[in-house]
């Protein structure tokens, strides 16, 4: 119910916001979806990843390359991104889920950095250090000829983000989500039920990776540009910060934190330039102290008090 209300309010935003803010919100929503997908790993599966941006990048490059060489349809590009995300998740996840805790953290960090190197070194395909530029503007069912592109694209992004959230929510509530939580709580117990713990974890990584890749497709379509830094540890940390600020056991919390952080970055980087990172860092430290459960902890506390 609350989700439908939120979607309705968001869908009305083009009538309230100007083109610039709308574009900013589009990016915020895409990052919100990717942060929520990371929350499935960090909070629900107990797998703290430092390489989640690799899925963003894989999705973004897949969508961008599809746009340049295959199809200008946004839907086709999204499909290519999700497929690439699934394949990348299965290949890297197969190894990653056999480690845990600190080693999982280091392993995913390494995967992310390898992905950066791969994108940088294969210049003929990816544009190398310069990034993948010249991505054509994607077509959106022909609606873009009738309305301002920024508005149509915002609705497209909102639809993708809503679908991604629906997938994440369904997985969390369903039997797979219970099994994922089970492996987080007690591996030995799950094995004693006959479950393959790596198998359940791989399913979690694949769902999170596919959803994150969808968010990556939105980034490529919105900016018509992808850089190797999109895959790197900087973006991975940003996503982790969003999860921790929002609350790792929540979907809406990280999304809200993402939108807030993107907006804050826009305001402070305009006024402070590079120093905005100081503001972000200070905010992060404060939140860790004051809101150990993240933003989601705030409304949970209110629900408990009521």
């Amino acid at each position: 119910m609350r989700a439908i209300l939120a979607a309705a309010v968001l869908a009305a935003m083009p009538f309230v916001l100007g083109a610039y803010q709308l574009s900013l919100l589009t990016g915020g929503l895409a990052y919100g979806l990717m942060a929520a997908s990371l929350a499935l790993l960090v909070g629900h599966a107990g797998l703290p990843s430092l390489g989640h941006a690799a899925f963003l990048g894989v999705g973004a490059y897949a969508a961008g390359l599809t746009a340049k060489h295959l199809s200008e349809s946004a839907v086709v590009q999204l499909g290519a991104a999700v497929l690439a995300g699934v394949v990348f998740a299965l290949v890297t996840g197969w190894f990653a889920v056999r480690t845990r805790g600190f080693f999982f953290l280091m392993f995913t960090l390494a995967i992310g950095e390898i992905a950066v190197q791969a994108a940088t070194r294969s210049g003929r395909v990816t544009g190398g250090d310069n990034g993948l530029s010249g991505i054509p503007v994607s077509t959106l069912f022909g609606l873009e000829t009738a309305m301002p592109y920024v508005v149509v694209f915002y609705w497209w992004a909102l639809a993708v983000v809503a679908a991604g959230f629906a997938v994440l929510a369904a997985v969390r509530r369903g039997p797979l989500g219970a099994a994922i939580a089970g492996t987080r709580e007690n591996e030995a117990r799950m094995a004693a039920f006959g479950y393959s713990v790596p198998g359940v974890r791989l399913a979690a990584v694949t769902v999170a990776g596919a959803v994150c890749a969808a968010g990556g497709a939105l980034v490529a379509q919105k900016d018509t540009f992808v850089a190797p830094t999109h895959l790197g540890v900087g973006v991975s940390v940003l996503l982790l910060v969003m999860v921790l600020l929002g609350g790792r056991d929540s979907l809406a919390g990280p999304a809200l934190a993402a939108v807030g952080l993107i907006a804050l970055r826009d305001v402070t980087s305009g006024a402070l330039g590079d120093k905005w990172l100081l503001v972000e860092g200070a905010l992060f430290v404060l939140c860790v102290y004051l809101l150990p459960e993240g933003l989601a902890g705030l409304w949970r506390k209110r629900a408990r008090a009521a």
Partner: protein, 231 residues
Amino acid sequence: MMLTVQNLTAGYGTAQVLHGADLTLDQGRAVAVLGRNGVGKTTFVHALMGLVRPSSGSIRLAGRELSGLDTRRIARLGVRIVPQGRRVFRSLTVAETLEISRSPGEWTVERVYQIFPALAARRRHRGDQLSGGEQEMLAIGRALLGNPRLLLLDEPSEGLAPRLVEELGVVLAGLRATGISVVLVEQNLRLALEVADEVRCMVKGRFVYGAAAGEFAGDGAAIAAYLGVGS
């Protein structure tokens, strides 16, 4: 023979706990494993489940060798354990826990709710919101939903009120009729005698005494020797 254990040894690091345990169990029968604290009862059932790797000896389930298999494979072959201290998932609800424990077979979620109506009333509650008795029912229910051929129970009566232990006895005694073979580790002699057909007593990682449950109940000297006075 459903279960044949021969000369089983196991331990933790350099500390050997089981020193050649032997045991056989027919289908649809229940054996109580008794003994004082620290003699190796829990290690014995953990070795059967693959939670501890046996260092030598053999465990055969309906002729199939289990020794050396990992826990997951053993579970797939039809063994389930109700661990000491229940170990229910704290963050999962009763319904979720039962849902992820299901394997095809005669035991269904509805049937578990039938034998444990208290669980049905608490199906939306999380594991950490249940009482000790409800947690025990949940641990037994999720084990039964695996439709095991062999069920291992490690001190299910621990920490339960006497009335609950009695209820538990009725449910466990009823399981034999379903054809499940049961290995019950217990400190509560009354419960053990109510549930089990046979009794095996363990001393220092070995079974040194075996008798029918009725026979053991009348053997005051054996009870005093293996369980200590007052048990």
